[in-house]
């Protein structure tokens, strides 16, 4: 298989399967999780402004008071790489085109030099959180194969994408193909690993917010 055939495969069949498995997995997992249901809370509720599932969905994106100081690397590193990923994934012109072709929606892109910077910063932040995971007793204690694995499959698309744009190591064609392949791996494993938090965190926050909002506690 030459690199053009490789690229053609990852853009064609490979992506078809990856997107298919991703969708299949997401739908299956969401039903699997949320169909378990929960009992209705029949205690008298106390309603308080700002205490609801929806509030918590948004509020949990901000660190609770004092926590940044307790774990600065987790927060700063975490924010940086999540925001960085967002920028790189959603504001890079070629990516926007992909979304446009899929959903018909498009939005302005950021200059590629900025994306380049964002990619480097994202990778740096990811390396920092990885080192933190290795160094910090709690994180190391909690870490399983899944944690190292998901870090890798998240890191690779950024790395290969950046290297493709920068023309490092391998010819652009091969790198672009590897980039798309790494995204496909990410798509395939996302529904079945902790990466699925990208979907369930909304449900989790909503449940937490609702259960506690019922008691008049704005969590």
């Amino acid at each position: 298989m030459n690199e053009m055939q490789f690229l053609t495969w990852v853009r064609g069949d490979g992506l078809d399967y990856a997107v298919g498995i991703f969708l299949l997995g997401v739908i299956w997992r969401l039903i699997e999780i949320y169909s378990l249901g929960r009992k209705k809370d029949i205690s008298a509720s106390r309603s308080v402004a700002g205490a609801s599932g929806w509030h918590t969905i948004f509020r949990r994106s901000l660190p609770p008071e004092g926590m940044v100081k307790k774990s600065p690397v987790s927060y700063i590193g975490g924010y940086t790489f999540h925001i960085g990923l967002f920028i790189v994934v959603f504001l890079f012109a070629p990516h926007i085109m992909l979304f446009q072709s899929l959903f018909g929606l498009s939005w302005p892109a950021l200059p590629s030099q900025f994306i380049d910077l964002a990619a480097v910063v994202t990778m740096a932040a990811m390396v920092v959180v990885l080192v933190d995971r290795i160094n910090k007793p709690v994180k190391r204690y909690l870490s399983t194969f899944g944690d190292w694995f998901t870090w890798t499959v998240t890191f690779l698309p950024v790395l290969t994408g950046w290297m493709a744009v920068q023309h490092l190591l391998l010819p652009y064609t091969t790198m672009l193909a590897l980039h798309i392949l790494s995204v496909e791996i990410l798509l395939v494993v996302l529904p079945f690993t902790k990466l699925f938090h990208a979907f369930t965190l909304f449900g989790s926050r909503w449940y937490n917010g609702t259960v506690n909002g019922h008691k008049g506690v704005a969590v």
Partner: protein, 425 residues
């Protein structure tokens, strides 16, 4: 699989619901919950990371309710939960968790970890893996009526004392009273001033109230041990008592988990909405204060600070009333760092204070409270939970800190002008 383990697993299968599934699926092992847990921050031992305390339940969830988990179990990638493992987890689920809910407040993906610990305890208790201390308390509550073995005669004796001391009659089983006042056995035995304070406050507010001879004990060891069946037995007594006396409101005493058991779990345990309201005494005092029914005179002049009981504040949503009440009678009221919503637990909630073998850990965890207190150096510490009060006193004594602990209700009551005098004026 032993019969007890089988029962535990069955109970867990019953209680695992969509929120738990969602929480387990969302966890990214970031470890931030550890930073919120006093058992981790004060010991530095990663096994006290809150989410780790749920590991057996997480595996069970995966194996029972997810397709991949089932496959993993089949091919031996995921080990089944064993009795020995649950036994090992006893320390993590009970001794080192006070259900304080700080972890649930900080989890970035929004996991309500303490919600899960509460459910996990259902399986732990059903499989016989609850600690002896709480088992004893549950046993006494069910058989005798109170975790400390207090029976009605003891209550009656206290009533008599208070009536004599305060010159105010204490109503018992008064049908149609507006308020039914609950007590915790801690208050009956250790802090009788509470009953007197209630009498004074009610008298001043001009409200009718009563104790109930079949339901004076508010604490619920069934909930602490994490067993809905036992918790239901206990809460049902209160529901029956309140319905029999046709009261409008049941007042939960200065006790955190009693409030949670009655206010939030009660209706769900008995399976129907209450015909009465449930309020914490602090809520009631706050209402009286707002309605002008609570009038005090004089001020405490020493430096006072307030310890928020977790179940009242973070898990119960009552945060402001106690502060307004403090300011009503204290000139020199200072707040500890993290006070209010993010206050640190005393270390003995959720039944932990009943576990003897957990004492050393509890005292270790108390260091966080010590540092909070060191930051403001109060003369006295006020709180609104009899259990917190006992645990705080033990901790303060251990660390040789000379800070008396008092209940907010009794402090308020002390500032209520003498009834006869005010009537005469």
């Amino acid at each position: 699989m032993s019969a007890s383990l089988e029962k535990g697993v069955r109970v867990l299968k019953e209680v695992i619901d969509a929120p738990i599934a969602s929480y387990f699926s969302s966890c990214v092992h970031c470890g931030l919950c550890a930073e919120a847990c006093l058992f981790y921050t004060e010991t530095g031992d990663p096994k006290y990371t809150p989410i780790h305390k749920l590991e057996p339940m997480r595996r069970l969830y995966e194996q029972e309710y997810t397709l991949l988990g089932r496959l993993k179990k089949m091919v031996g990638l995921s080990k089944p939960v064993t009795d020995a493992e649950l036994g090992e987890w006893q320390e993590l689920v009970y001794n080192s968790c006070t259900l304080c809910g700080r972890c649930s407040a900080v989890c970035p993906v929004g996991n309500d970890i303490v919600y899960m610990v509460r459910k996990f305890r259902e399986g732990m208790s059903a499989s016989g893996n609850a600690p002896d201390g709480i088992k004893g308390a549950a046993n006494r509550t069910i058989t005798i009526g109170s975790p400390m073995g207090v029976k009605l005669p003891a209550v009656k004796a206290q009533m008599k004392h208070v009536e004599e001391d305060y010159g105010i009659p204490i109503p018992l089983d008064a049908e149609g009273a507006e308020y039914m006042v609950m007590l915790s056995s801690m208050e009956i035995i250790n802090f009788p001033e509470y009953l007197g304070a209630i009498a004074k406050i009610m008298k001043q507010a001009g409200k009718t109230w009563t104790l109930c001879s079949t339901a004076f004990e508010a604490t619920n060891a069934g909930m602490q041990i994490g067993n809905a069946d036992l918790a239901r037995v206990i809460v049902s007594r209160i529901v029956e008592g309140a319905e029999k006396l046709k009261v409008k409101t049941v007042i939960s005493p200065e006790c955190g988990h009693a409030y949670t058991a009655l206010r939030w779990e009660g209706a769900n345990l008995v399976g129907r909405p209450f015909t009465f309201e449930v309020k914490h005494i602090i809520e009631v005092l706050g209402e009286f204060q707002e309605q002008g029914l609570l009038k005090t005179e004089g001020f405490e002049t020493d430096r006072l600070t307030f310890h928020d009981p977790c179940q009242l504040a973070r898990r119960g949503g009552v945060i402001e009333p106690q502060r307004k009440l403090m300011k009503m009678v204290a000139q020199n009221f200072v707040e500890m760092p993290d006070a209010g919503y993010m206050n640190w637990c005393c270390g003995g909630g959720g039944g932990a204070s009943a576990i003897e073998e957990g004492e050393e850990l509890r005292l270790e965890a108390f260091k966080v409270k010590k540092s909070q207190l060191d930051a403001v150096r109060p003369d006295r510490l006020v709180t609104a939970c009899a259990n917190c009060r006992i645990v705080l006193e033990e901790g303060l004594e251990h660390y040789q800190m000379d800070i008396p602990v008092i209940g907010l209700t009794e402090m308020i009551a002390e500032h209520i002008p003498d009834q006869t005098k005010s009537e005469g004026a």
